[in-house]
Amino acid sequence: MNDAQIQRLRKQYPDPLSAVMPALRIAQEQNGGWLSPDTIREVADALELTPAYCLSIASFYDQYRLEPVGRRVVEVCTNVPCALAGAQQVVEAFERELEVTAGSTREDGEYTLGTIECLGGCGWATVVAIDNRHRLRVTADDVPGIVKELRGA
């Protein structure tokens, strides 16, 4: 994270403390998708906060990750509207195709598969976030094609 970036973030807010969320987001993006203890310390230093404070924020919000993630992250919404459309089968298809259990990262570090709370796409169920980009109306039958695409990329 460069200093100019941080200063620009801080200036957006009357109180620089407000910059902690965007700073954590940028730091996570630049650190391969997770916040290591070192990364947390860097954010703390840049914002003149303590690492403990930054960790208390990072641990509160689901999108900050405190453990390494796979090269590609697949998250399936399993809340009610997606479940009514067959999200369970979508999860099972990803487990099969990616060879990883939902809620974990494959040993070779290629894929993280997760089930996640409502992504705000209930009318376009099942919603799957791949590296935070939403795919809509995904069915179990679509999964092999999506995984093939992920392998190629």
Partner: protein
Amino acid sequence: MPEHPQIVFAGTDGGAVLDIDRYRAAGGFSALAKTRAMAPDDVIAELEASGLRGRGGAFFPTGRKWAFVPKPEALPKPHYLVVNADESEPGSFKDREIMLRVPFRFLEGCLIAAHGIQSQHVFVYIRGEYEREFEILRDSLEAVRKDDLLGGVTVVVHRGAGAYICGEETALLESLEGKRGQPRTKPPFPAIAGLYAAPTAVNNVESITTVTSVFELGAAEYAKLGVENSTGTRVFSLSGDVANPGNYELPHGISMRELVYDIGGGIANGRELKAVIPGGSSTSVLTADDIDVKMDFTSLVEAGSSIGSAGVIVIDDRCCMVQLGIRVSQFYEHESCGKCTPCRVGTKWVTQILEKIEDGRAAQADLDLLLSVCDRIMGKCLCPLGDSDAIAVLSYVDRFREEFQAHIDLGRCPFDGESSLEGILAPSAMHASQGHEAAHV
């Protein structure tokens, strides 16, 4: 499908208006010019006359909310407009489509609102999972700035990071201040001591976008749409076991039958309608017998539910209501911020008792215990997140009691593994505490 007036999605022809010149050519930003020529008090008075009420869930009159914000002379601090774009309630996905399709009408509404409450600072708090929506807002904002329309107002789009509780307005303000998103004690209310302890109006994306529509049409014309007490249109999010799910902008007061059958194309796959959750997962379930209820604030209260965020979830006869309760309760348990004990502990208990019932391990006393736990959450916390779990689950028991009873009497789920929610999974963050197997209902 009969033609219904589109005022939020006006001028889109079913698509998106992402080009500022196109928006302006169709009259965009004329409402802003009109309101900037008015005294702020007159803007608020006209909004009150329109009858516009909040679309975020509580249905509070928008004009009155703005009137609560003290005048800068009376309270000489910066004033803030905070727009709630945290949309995370299961069943609700309308704000997202508004930001995707009419970002300029939304931003115009932000500037009108800022004028109304005499604010120079707008913050839009958008949920962290909305990537495309964020990019569109960022780019649209840049176009508004280039066209010199900001009039000295700064607009900052602040991204959340995955926490439903940050939709609750005081938790949102805490989060925006760089803290954990936990609700505050009220009073003081945000109008007096909101963001950075300064006067703040918090409004939903659809409310703010509709503000533009009100001034495009004039309050009197706007108020002719909809019904008494629920003026104007509403963007209904339709999902679940319905043939044509999606967002539909319709006048308040349309019947649920028209929404589900005429517009939604009826129940998918020729199944039978069992239940409808009318206003997002936090609202009481209605049954197929309620199908003629009108979709407005008063009618839904009279039917024993609420219009909430107008997220309408349709459920057909394959669904086990105990499983539904488990998944809804898991959501609130997962999203509880942990500040208030009745919510933190109670939502977990509710899930566990429901799991016991579903697994056929429950005795009659467990059903009573479930009701008593719900009762001990209700109204006992700083915010109504835990209440939402209790309200939802109590309504499932109330409307489908024989189904809960059958689980207890049979010692198993009467759906025998055939429920549409069979095998439904909790979010993976809950797997660790429950074990992956246990997370499968």
